[in-house]
Amino acid sequence: MSTTLHKKTVETRANVVILFAGDSGDGIQLTGSQFTDTNALFGNDVSTFPNFPAEIRAPQGTLAGVSGYQLHFGSVEIFTPGDQCDVLVVMNAAALKANLTKLKKGGTIIANSDGFDKKNLRLAGYIDEADPLTDGSLSNFNLHSVDVTKLTRTALEGTTLGMKEKDRCKNMFVLGFINWMYSRENALTEGFLQRKFGKKPELLDANMKALVAGYNYGETSETFTTRFEVKAAPMPKGTYRSITGNQGTALGLIAAAQKAKLDLFYGSYPITPASDILHELSRHKNFGVLTFQAEDEIAAISSAIGASYGGAIGITASSGPGIALKTEAMGLAFMLEIPLVIVNVQRGGPSTGLPTKTEQADLWQAVHGRNGEAPIPVIAASTPIDCFDMAFEAVQIAIEHMTPVILLTDGYIANGSEPWRFPASKDLPEIKPNYIKAPNDGDKFLPYLRDERGVRPWALPGQPGLQHRIGGIEKQDRTGNISYDPANHEKMVHLRAEKVARIADRFKPIRLDSGPAEGELLIVGWGSTYGAIRTAALQLQAEGQSVAHVHIRHLFPFNKGLGPLLKKYKQVLVPEMNSGQLRQMLRGEFLVDAQGLNKIQGMPFTSEEIRAGALNLLNA
């Protein structure tokens, strides 16, 4: 083997964007996530973007059925999954057709030639079944056509598996080959396979063989003369793990419940892309986590309200259409003034919309979407790691201020992953519930007697002398008894609004993500556009532009420093994956002439799109 090895040259790259694509049954997500974990373990900074169809098994070979997994890894800091790919790995013709525009000029294509037979070409819509692998149309790219199917089958000769099962190992062949190409070892994936197939020795053996065969193919094949090396990134010292946004959300919720010394009750109804939070939480019952798969979205939130009433932290999550169903119950939680966290993992809308694609179009729904005046704090996570921090903060605000809180994430960061230098539990703040143990007005208990922050006490059932009745009907100040008195209603509307407004008192001073404290242009982002905006802002600053970037975590109420900050720049640009919802809010609140940069394609911004939008404004 060493005789062949010396022929290969090794080139170093600072960062690489690779996109794996194939049929939704090809195991693409697994291949991508394994290669991600391998690189993260090696010490690269990484960012990923899984992109898959809504159908579990869309018609094979069609464009509709293409599943993709994009990974950006590097020896430098990485903020996005990358605008364009250096390498495109495609398992069939449809995968190539759907993704070729994402490949850089001169980029590398590794294609499974078996996926380019006449049927696949026809299904992918290649005119006259012209094969792009052989007709010269890909001459601008570095094309490697490999018969992965045949090579996998050859490697598995002698096993007792049927042809279909053998073909299911193709993704491991590809992964082995890519590991070779980027000078990575198979070890992490081997460990994964042992855990996954430990009880099925035949499948374990076959997948291991395919993985090794792919690696060896790189080593021995004459066609591949170059392998690449991406050195470890200069990440801050510490211990890391890889985490997706939905995992981050789940862990943040558990951590906060632990810090509040409360059981966590999670009521939810399965919905893409929020279900993984339910899956993750249901694995951690030993933390006092109770998961309840309710009969519908309304029952999901209502059960969480019941749990909070009982003294746990009630949590529910969904995506836009499910959140719409929860609206009435959010109003109830608002009136009851009990802790509750509602997570919206946003997807493309309206209605069923684009279930597996990403969007930020539920901001107004979160801020305004209730009957009557029912302001609820709204906060948003910007990266997979930030999902942890914001989920923690959502629980903290809910418990300490006796209010429902809405946390917005989206499909892009929920499914994306990045390396996380996880905190130690001792460094997380304690959360202090506003319990009451004895009557607060002589021998009487007034459930709506507020403290200086406007927060009412939390009296749990079972405590003698604190029996009280609460409900969604307008209530008298202090006593909570039913009241239809006109002046009292107005007073209560104000009291509840003030309580929520005062939550801004706890926020840390607003901080620029990058750029000068005043100048030409401020880019204001929120949520998952963070990576693309940060990358673009750093580049513009490097190019000498007077551009700063602020990323808003608290969408309602706003940070008190936001208004003054906006005034320090001549222009304000608000990139959003919607038609301009935050922009309108900023205009309404602060009377600034904020401009929008809007993309509503179910796909995240590229940093280049942000940069171009900013330049457009600067040069206007």
Partner: protein
């Protein structure tokens, strides 16, 4: 603690009543139910703070405000879900759920069936008045077909639910019926419901004297009650009409028989509330009472089943998880399964 509430409560009953003025219409059947519940609570020896009343929306759902226990007046139809969450985290509390025919069977239909199949431990009082009262007189999912109401001037075109057949279909574990005009019977049934672990559903025929007065007259008035009602008792034969008639099962079907020279009470079906099959028949005795040869309407406890409650199964999983994995270690959780160290 209590001051008002003089309309219905005898002095010794004040303990469980709240200081809130009762706002049901004078003459409403709800007063009778409230009184029986208060009496039962006082006799039960439970502490006020350990009892929670959860309701939805409707006339009946104002019930929690009138008791000096913990209470949550929820939103329309969702009380079963609120109860499910509360029971999951506080299984030691006694929880009652107050609902009506619209709240439970129309807007909350999807929740009540799931509450029943999960068998959450709660006493559900379904006030059935066959009308929408709080919205002023529209037909409900239990109004008979043809019912002329404010929203159906030409008569309702909807076929009504048979509530207890629905409950049986959803595998309810305690199924009973009573009526506002028979306080003693109601108290006995409520007491049984309270003792049962699991979802105890009691349908209570409740007169709305404003919008649907007399809907259950045929079952409640002295003159017609004996012939049209059947009060079932454990181990006793199904007889009615002052013992002159009975019900037997012949060729898999219930039949009315005359007690006399030909048949004795021993020929009747003996009520067994543990019998799943018989309960399925009992809940189906739902004839239009005004029709010739109609079966009498049964009252009492139809069915009891002791399968485990949802919250017990949930707690058992948490306990098992703690035994197997140990009580959650937050640092281990944050660390996860794979880590790497830099520097």
């Amino acid at each position: 603690m209590s001051t008002t509430n003089g309309t219905i409560s005898a002095p010794e009953k004040v303990d469980f009543s709240s200081d809130q003025e009762i706002r049901w219409c004078p003459g409403c059947g709800d007063y009778s139910i409230l009184k029986q519940v208060q009496t039962l609570l006082e006799q039960s020896g439970k502490k006020k703070e350990d009892v929670v009343f959860i309701s939805g929306i409707g006339c009946s759902s104002r019930f929690p405000y009138y008791l000096d226990t913990y209470g949550l007046h929820g939103i329309h139809g969702r009380a079963p879900a609120i109860v499910s969450g509360l029971r999951s985290v506080r299984p030691e509390l006694t929880v009652w759920m107050i609902t009506g025919d619209g709240d439970a069977l129309s807007i909350g239909g999807n929740h009540i069936i799931h509450l029943l199949r999960r068998n959450v431990d709660v006493n559900v009082l379904l006030f059935n008045n066959e009308i929408y009262g709080l919205t002023k007189g529209q037909y409900s999912p239990t109004s008979p077909e043809g019912a002329v109401t404010r929203s159906t001037p030409m008569g309702s075109t909807d076929h009504p639910f048979n509530p207890l057949a629905l409950v049986k279909g959803a595998d309810g574990t305690f199924i009973a019926r009573s009526m506002d005009r028979d306080p003693k019977h109601m108290r006995e049934v409520l007491s049984r419901a309270d003792a049962h672990r699991g979802t105890s559903l009691v349908e209570i025929y409740q007169n709305c004297n404003v919008f649907n007065d007399g809907a259950f007259e045929i079952f409640t008035e002295k003159a017609t009650k004996p012939v049209h009602t059947l009060f079932v008792e454990q181990g006793k034969p199904l007889t009615f009409a002052n013992g002159t008639k009975g019900i037997c099962i012949k060729e898999m079907r219930p039949r009315i028989i005359d007690i006399g020279p030909e048949f004795s009470p021993n020929d009747c079906w003996i009520h067994d509330e543990r019998d799943n099959f018989k309960a399925s028949i009992l809940v189906r005795l739902f004839d239009d009472a005004h029709k010739e040869g109609a079966f009498p309407r049964p009252f009492g406890v139809f069915y009891v089943n002791d399968r485990p409650t949802h919250e017990d199964k949930m707690s058992a999983q948490v306990k098992l998880a703690k035994e197997k994995k140990g009580v959650g270690d937050l640092d281990a959780l944050l660390k996860g399964e794979h880590t790497w160290t830099i520097g």
